[in-house]
Symmetry: C2
Subunit: 312 residues, 2 copies
């Protein structure tokens, strides 16, 4: 593999915005948009944890950006740019790097963002990647986790559990999995630009699992939730696996759909804000202290072995 | 080790500023200082590459922050806060985490910065850490690498090569190394608050090695440099090793001193700006294309096996 500096010059400098100063300086220089608040978020992709060694490098790059873009979406922010760190073992090939940079470029164009800077380094064994995303939002318009109230409805965008089944296929744990589910697990779609600022009482993106991420809203807002498992939207491809995969679908992360709570009188505004994007009511909030109950169609409480993904 | 969420709550939430929203949200919410430009920088500390497995966790934390603070210093910026990512293998103990967090707290207090947010994850083998630092600077006052001109003088703060010798001691490659040198390698001092905005023509912090980092200024500015090896300031502790360690001192990084170029008429202003901090003239810039020559006392050109540290 090429050394750090030729790597930066060849693969990353062409991706840099003016803020990156050609990636020749120690840091990025950035004039924040006047009268806006900034949103800063950082997420990792570590080999063997967040991606598999044989995953296509361009998709690893795009998922790295999209996981962070999803965090911006959950705050109601517009993306501007990002910082990137790469820690690569010697075994990484030029081809891997070239494809990785192509993936970054593809999503920079898709989401209108630029590389502001970063740090390129080595690691002894696995690949470690981080992206720090910078976004902006109107003053006091940022969506939060702590604004939900008893009586609010729980809604979710898109379909839930596709990535969980796709991941199992990629790991060889599940057979006959449609390509759509594998693609959903490799390349999520951040739900940006939904304009939920005066609509949602709380939002979170589903990265750790529906039940657990709903729990984060409940704890932050001081409410309990009842989630109706039969209302949780499945894609036709995921539905074909039936209830055998229900726990996986509800407790595995990586769908990067938005979980939104709204007071009932704002249901219409929520549906309007989502336009052609599927949005489904899946439960309700009650007085409480952060507990999530999952009910099936018959009103029976379901018990899962864990609510979602947590790094030990 | 505790799981991700109790880890965040126990060790990291107490370090968070208001921008961190209690580390309960997807991202940090940050109101940029009015009329200032932002400086963003990110650096990594990977186990086995940037620190040794037995290094004290509090010093690892502090060096992680200080390497980034040094990048802010090289741009003339004031620090505000940081985002942190941790990727930890299962083998990491609660004690390691507690000490790591104590190190963060110590340097937050020392440098007046707060934790804005981050991401906590697992890794299969080594510890990987990143910090994204956010700083600010007056408009158009950021120091750059590309402003140096032929005729400028080359100056450096502090003493050079202490960390190189300290690292060799920590690796068991060099014997009878004074504790001062080991401390310099574990806990560098970022040279913040020097007010070089209308003084320096270019600046860089020495992280990859004096010769190589000078080369970065030369390439960015389109000049050549002559560096006088006998003028490069050594601490008494480093000087005791004599010329046998000269190449290591000049080509190893991690000192985090500032390399500053100034037009001769600004020499006085530079010395005044440095106050009680040692600052030493070590060379001059000439017309050229980015080349660095190192001369000894007799005017003989020294050849080194490499100009500095580069990740393969």
């Amino acid at each position: 593999m090429s050394d750090e500096f030729s790597r930066i010059e060849r693969y990353f400098a062409p991706l840099a915005g003016a803020e990156g100063l050609g990636l020749k300086d120690d840091a990025a220089l950035f004039r924040p948009p006047v009268g806006r608040e900034l949103i800063l978020t950082v997420d990792q992709m570590n080999e063997g944890v967040h991606f598999l060694p044989n995953d296509a490098p361009d998709l690893v790059a795009r998922k790295l950006l999209r996981r962070n873009l999803s965090d911006l979406a959950a705050m109601g922010a517009e993306p501007l740019g990002y910082l990137l760190t790469t820690a690569l073992p010697k075994s990484v090939s030029e081809d891997w790097l070239r494809l990785f940079a192509e993936g970054l470029r593809a999503d920079q164009e898709e989401f209108g963002i630029k590389l502001f800077g970063g740090d390129s380094s080595s690691s002894l064994t696995q690949i470690s990647l981080t992206a720090t995303l910078i976004g902006h939002v109107a003053p006091a318009a940022a969506l939060r986790r702590d604004g939900a109230s008893p009586g609010d409805e729980i809604w979710v965008t898109g379909t839930i559990g596709d990535a969980a089944l796709g991941l199992r296929a990629r790991r060889g744990e599940l057979q006959n999995v449609p390509a759509f589910l594998i693609e959903r697990s490799l390349l999520p779609t951040p739900r940006l630009n939904l304009e939920l600022a005066n609509v949602a009482s709380a939002t979170i993106d589903i990265s750790d699992g529906l039940v657990q991420d709903l729990g984060h809203i409940c704890k932050a807002s001081g409410v309990d939730a009842v989630l109706y498992s039969h209302l949780v939207p499945a894609s036709p491809e995921a539905a074909s696996f039936g209830d055998t995969m229900l726990e996986a679908r509800l407790t595995d992360g990586d769908d990067y759909e938005l979980l939104v709570t709204v007071p009932p009188e704002k249901t219409g505004a929520l549906i309007a804000a989502c336009g052609t994007l599927q949005i489904t009511k899946i439960g309700k909030l009650e007085r409480g202290t952060g507990k999530v109950e999952v009910w099936d169609r018959a009103g029976k409480t379901l018990q899962f072995s864990r609510p979602g993904w947590s790094h030990f």
